[in-house]
Symmetry: none
Subunit: 222 residues, 2 copies
């Protein structure tokens, strides 16, 4: 029985959502405001949160952001506005889905179930290519069963490549995605990190392929 946290200040709306969630066989917890929601979240194992944006004290976006610090449970945002910008803001803060009021509770339940299904099939705890295996939760990398130590940037680079294999990335793209858009430095920096990474990967360094004038890509089957 998954635990659903419903964060909504309107009593009416709360009741409707609870009713449908119960029909779906879920256990419901409710919070009337953001503070309350975070309290509950901190002390109870929740499987999904349905979060209203318009709330007194602390709005939905802030709750979403703060919730993400302590949990990675799926979040569905609710709002009266169908504003595109709000939607994007929601996703930016880590929401997984979005519903605009007035909405169909049936569809809310369907979305809830879909997210629960997707998340409960526990998300990739390993990433593999050739003899390389990454354990994201532990931030560790194994090479043919042997743990190797990477610096943070090396790890980020490898992780990025392995989550985006077979795609070419220019140095600029890599800088943007891994270093951040505000990185001001030299594009040669990428080369250096590619080099040290290849070195540490030994014979498995072959997965990182140079495409002259284009950039680099990670090939799984190499």
């Amino acid at each position: 029985m998954p635990n659903i946290l419903i964060v909504e200040d309107e009593k009416n709306m709360q009741d409707i959502i609870i009713e449908y969630m119960k029909r779906g066989g879920h256990t419901c917890f409710t919070a009337d405001d953001g503070i309350d929601a975070l309290m509950i979240l901190k002390n109870n194992p929740m499987d999904l949160m349905i979060l209203d944006i318009m709330m007194p004290h602390l709005d939905g976006f802030s709750v979403c952001k703060m919730a993400r610090e302590i949990s990675n449970l799926p979040i569905i945002m609710l709002t009266a506005k169908s504003d595109e910008e709000d939607k994007l803001k929601g996703y930016k803060y880590g929401a997984d889905d979005y519903m605009t009021k007035p909405f169909s509770p049936k569809i809310l339940l369907a979305k809830t179930n879909a997210l629960l299904r997707r998340f409960s099939a526990n998300p990739a705890d390993t990433l593999s290519a050739g003899k390389i295996t990454i354990f994201p939760i532990a931030h560790t990398v194994f090479l043919d069963g042997q743990e190797i130590t990477l610096t943070h940037k090396e790890y980020e680079l490898l992780f990025f490549f392995m989550t985006n294999p077979e795609q070419i990335f220019s140095r600029e793209q890599l800088l943007n995605r891994i270093w951040g858009y505000d990185f001001e430095g030299n594009t040669r920096t990428v080369d250096t990190h590619i080099k040290t990474l290849r070195q540490k990967l030994g014979s498995e360094g072959k997965h990182i392929v140079t495409l002259i004038r284009s950039g680099y890509k990670f090939e799984v089957a190499k």
Copy 2:
């Protein structure tokens, strides 16, 4: 000392798992095939089962299903396939968690501990790693049989780490989870507590590993 049943036909894999489970303070029983597993399960009180899917005679799914008829012990499935369908099938037959080969034995141990904690009727009255033992009920910590005194924050930190081993936590996450999301202070606070904790743990301080730019994690087998 919880009893773990390891159902795995490959001798090598068996040995690796046994080694790590022993480090985690568990007692191990092994079965080379499904029939064997069910026999053991029927006649001995087991606390958790680690179950390989690919086995001769009777596959893991069938074992899982039949095991559920006689016991509701937590089951972790092991498989070479990272197939989504297999995962769902596993859950359908009553598995509690899933690990895809190749996997990190450390993470397997972490998952094992997590499940044991969640399922055991009287939740963990001791937590161990290396020479460190915590008695949560009494709030006491022993180092190689000798009681040591920790301040409240130190205790909380150690307890958090030992209940969430092998996972990295950023300073922010630690502040959120241990200090509370409303803590306004400096992230260096974490460093200081890590320092005093390591100091008091002496040589066992090695379990707390620093990952530069990422945070800290607790490694059981270190």
